[in-house]
C-alpha cells in the first residue's frame, strides 16, 4: 500500500507480465489481417493487411451476415441480463434482510447448489425443454436467468445487502414503510453498484456459454455469434484469416463493457466480503 516504495522496477515487471499475458491477443489482431500463407510467420503485422478478411468473414454465410448473429446474441443477452439482475435483487433481499421460517436451511441449499455440477441437471432439463417444445428457441437459454440469476449472484448480493446498516430499515419501518417499500426505496437504490457487477458478469458469462448454445440452438437463423464461429471451424478448409477476424469481433462486446466497468469488478466483489 505504500506508494513511495513502489519502485520503477515493479512497474517494469508488471508491464512485462501484462505484455506476456496480452501477447496472444496482440498476435491475434495482426493475424486477423494476414493471408493464410503468412499466419505462421512470427511477425505481428502482415506485409499487406488483408482488410478483406473482415468483409468476407462478415458475409461468409450465404444466408446471413454477422449482423444477424450479433443481433441474435444481443437479443438473448437482453433477456438474460434483465432477468438475472431483477430476480437476483429480489431473492437476495429476501435472504439478506427478512426473517422467515427455514431461512437458514434454504440459504444452505442455495450455497450447496453452487457445488452441483451442471452435468447432473442438463439431461433432464433438456428432456423437459424438449417436451415443452422449446428446443431450438431461446427460452431454454434465457428462462433459467429469471429464477434468481444463479446462486453465485444471489450470494454476492446477500453479502452486499448485509453490509447496509439496518438502522435505515428500522427508520423506514417506524415511518410505516412495508417490507416491500423498504426493498424498492432503500435497498434497491443502495445496491446499484453490486447490481452492475451482476449485470456485467451475467452478460459476459452467458455470451461465452457455448455449451448451452450448442445444446439448444440448431437452426442457422437463430445462431448466436459463438455458434456462427463454429460453422467456420467445422468446415473442411478453415479460412483462418476470416475466422480470426470474426472471433476478434465476437469478443468486442465483452471487452468494451469490461473497459468501461472495470472498477466494479474488484470493488463490487471486495465490498461484498466474500471471505468467511
Amino acid at each position: 500500500m505504500n506508494t513511495m516504495r513502489f519502485k520503477w522496477s515493479n512497474h517494469l515487471l508488471l508491464t512485462l507480465f501484462s505484455l506476456l499475458m496480452l501477447y496472444p491477443v496482440i498476435w491475434w489482431i495482426g493475424a486477423s489481417l494476414k493471408k493464410t500463407s503468412e499466419l505462421g510467420l512470427p511477425t505481428i503485422w502482415p506485409s499487406t493487411p488483408m482488410w478483406s478478411n473482415y468483409s468476407s468473414g462478415w458475409n461468409f454465410s450465404d444466408q446471413y451476415t454477422f449482423a444477424h448473429f450479433f443481433g441474435n446474441s444481443l437479443l438473448m443477452e437482453l433477456g438474460n441480463v434483465t432477468g438475472g439482475v431483477l430476480t437476483a435483487a429480489i431473492v437476495a433481499y429476501g435472504f439478506g434482510r427478512l426473517n422467515f421460517k427455514l431461512r437458514g436451511f434454504w440459504f444452505s441449499i442455495l450455497l450447496l447448489t453452487m457445488m452441483l455440477p451442471g452435468q447432473v441437471t442438463v439431461v433432464p432439463q433438456y428432456i423437459l425443454f424438449n417436451k415443452l417444445g422449446w428446443v431450438d428457441s431461446y427460452i431454454p437459454l434465457v428462462l433459467p436467468h429469471f429464477f434468481g440469476g444463479g446462486a453465485f449472484f444471489i450470494f454476492l448480493l446477500v453479502q452486499f445487502i448485509r453490509g447496509i446498516p439496518r438502522d435505515l430499515d428500522e427508520a423506514a419501518k417506524i415511518d410505516g414503510t412495508s417490507v416491500y417499500g423498504i426493498f424498492f426505496r432503500i435497498i434497491l437504490p443502495l445496491i446499484k453498484p453490486a447490481l452492475v457487477t451482476v449485470a456485467i458478469f451475467t452478460f459476459i458469462w452467458s455470451w461465452d456459454d457455448f455449451f448451452a448454445q450448442v445444446l439448444y440452438i440448431s437452426s442457422v437463423s437463430k445462431f448466436t455469434v459463438g455458434l456462427a464461429l463454429r460453422m467456420f471451424i467445422d468446415q473442411f478448409d478453415i479460412k483462418w484469416g476470416q475466422l480470426l477476424a470474426m472471433s476478434l469481433l465476437s469478443i468486442m462486446p465483452s471487452a468494451i463493457i469490461f473497459l468501461f466497468a472495470q472498477k466494479y469488478f474488484v470493488e463490487g466483489i471486495a465490498t461484498t466480503g466474500l471471505k468467511g
Binding site: I90, Y93, F100, F147
Partner: protein, 305 residues
C-alpha cells in the same frame, strides 16, 4: 397479550414476505434443480433414447461403466490429471499476481485490465479458435521456438502435449480467481502489517504469518470452486482438440455430452453425471474436513455481521 399478538402477526407477515421474495429462486430450484437431479438419478437406472419411454435396467448402466467402458476410465483419468495440475497452478499464479496488483499506484487499473483480459474472453469459442491456430504444427508458437533452434511438435495433435496445451490455456485465464484473491487481500487489516513491522517481521514472515492465514477462507473458496469448475471443462476440448488425439484430451464433460446428445443414451449419460456428482461431492467434503486444519476464520469480535 395485545403486543404478543401483534408480534405474531408481524412474524406471519415477514414469513410470507420472505417467501414472496425468495420465490423466484425457490421455484427455479424445485423445477430446474431438485426435480432434474431426482430425474437424473432415476434415469441412470434406465435405458432411454428420448424417443421411447425409459426402460428400467437396474444397475446395468453403472455395471457397464465400471467394467466395460474403457472410455470412461480414460476420460476420468484425463480429467483428474487436468484438475490436479491446473487447479494448483492457477491458484499459485493468481495469488502471486494478486499480491503484485494490490498496490495503490497510478496505472494499476491498466495492469489489472491487461491481466484480466484473457479471462474475460474465457471459455469462448473465439479463444479456442485462436489457441488451435497458435499451437498448430505450422502455428506461431513453433515459429518462435524455431528461432531458438527448437523443433516444435504439433502441440494439439501430439497426444503427449495436447493435454498440457489445454492446461496452459486454462492457466492463462486465471483472472477470476485472481480478482477474488485481490478482494480478499483488500480486507486484510493494514494494522496487522504495521504492528508486525514494529516487531521487526520481514516480508516473508508477514506473508506466512499474516497474509496466508487471513486469506485462507478465500483460498478455500477458490480451491473448491476451482475443482468443481475444472471437472466441467468443455469448450476447449470440444473445439480445439475434439477430445483427441487418441482421446488424450477426452474430458469427462465432453464424454457425457457425446453420450447424451450425440448417441442419445440419456440413461447412460445420467449415470455418468451421478458418478461425477459423487466424485465432486466427495472431494468437496474432503476439502471441508481438511479445511479445519488450515482455514483460519476470524472470530467475529468487533466486526458487525
Amino acid at each position: 397479550m395485545k403486543v404478543s399478538r401483534k408480534l405474531r402477526r408481524n412474524k406471519g407477515e415477514t414469513n410470507l414476505a420472505g417467501y414472496v421474495f425468495i420465490a423466484p429462486w425457490l421455484i427455479g430450484f424445485l423445477c430446474l434443480t431438485l426435480w432434474p437431479v431426482a430425474q437424473s438419478f432415476y434415469l441412470s437406472f434406465t435405458d432411454y433414447s428420448l424417443l421411447d419411454a425409459p426402460v428400467w435396467t437396474g444397475t446395468s448402466n453403472y455395471h457397464n461403466i465400471f467394467t466395460n467402458d474403457t472410455t470412461f476410465t480414460k476420460s476420468l483419468s484425463v480429467t483428474f490429471i487436468f484438475v490436479l495440475v491446473s487447479v494448483p497452478l492457477k491458484l499459485f499464479f493468481s495469488l502471486m499476481v494478486a499480491m503484485a496488483l494490490n498496490k495503490n499506484v497510478r496505472g494499476m487499473n491498466i495492469y489489472r485490465t491487461a491481466i484480466y483480459f484473457p479471462s474475460l474472453i474465457g471459455g469462448s469459442i473465439a479463444v479456442a479458435a485462436l489457441w488451435r491456430n497458435m499451437f498448430g504444427l505450422d502455428g506461431y508458437v513453433n515459429q518462435v521456438l524455431s528461432w531458438f533452434g527448437i523443433e516444435g511438435v504439433g502441440w494439439i495433435t501430439n497426444p503427449h502435449t495436447s493435454l498440457g496445451t489445454l492446461i496452459l490455456l486454462n492457466t492463462w485465464q486465471f483472472g477470476s480467481t485472481m480478482v477474488i484473491f485481490l478482494a480478499g487481500l483488500k480486507q486484510v487489516p493494514q494494522e496487522l502489517y504495521e504492528s508486525a513491522s514494529v516487531d521487526g517481521a520481514g516480508r516473508v514472515r508477514k506473508f506466512i504469518s499474516i497474509t496466508l492465514p487471513m486469506l485462507s477462507p478465500v483460498m478455500f473458496f477458490n480451491l473448491v470452486l476451482g475443482i468443481i469448475g475444472s471437472f466441467q471443462t468443455f469448450t476447449s476440448a470440444f473445439i480445439i482438440t475434439k477430445g483427441g488425439p487418441i482421446n488424450s484430451t477426452y474430458m469427462y464433460a465432453m464424454f457425457l455430452y457425446e453420450k447424451a446428445f450425440k448417441h442419445y443414451q440419456m440413461g447412460y449419460a445420467s449415470a455418468l453425471a451421478w458418478i461425477l456428482l459423487v466424485i465432486v461431492a466427495l472431494l468437496t467434503l474432503l476439502n471441508f474436513v481438511a479445511s479445519r486444519y488450515w482455514v483460519f476464520y476470524e472470530t467475529d469480535g468487533g466486526k458487525a455481521k
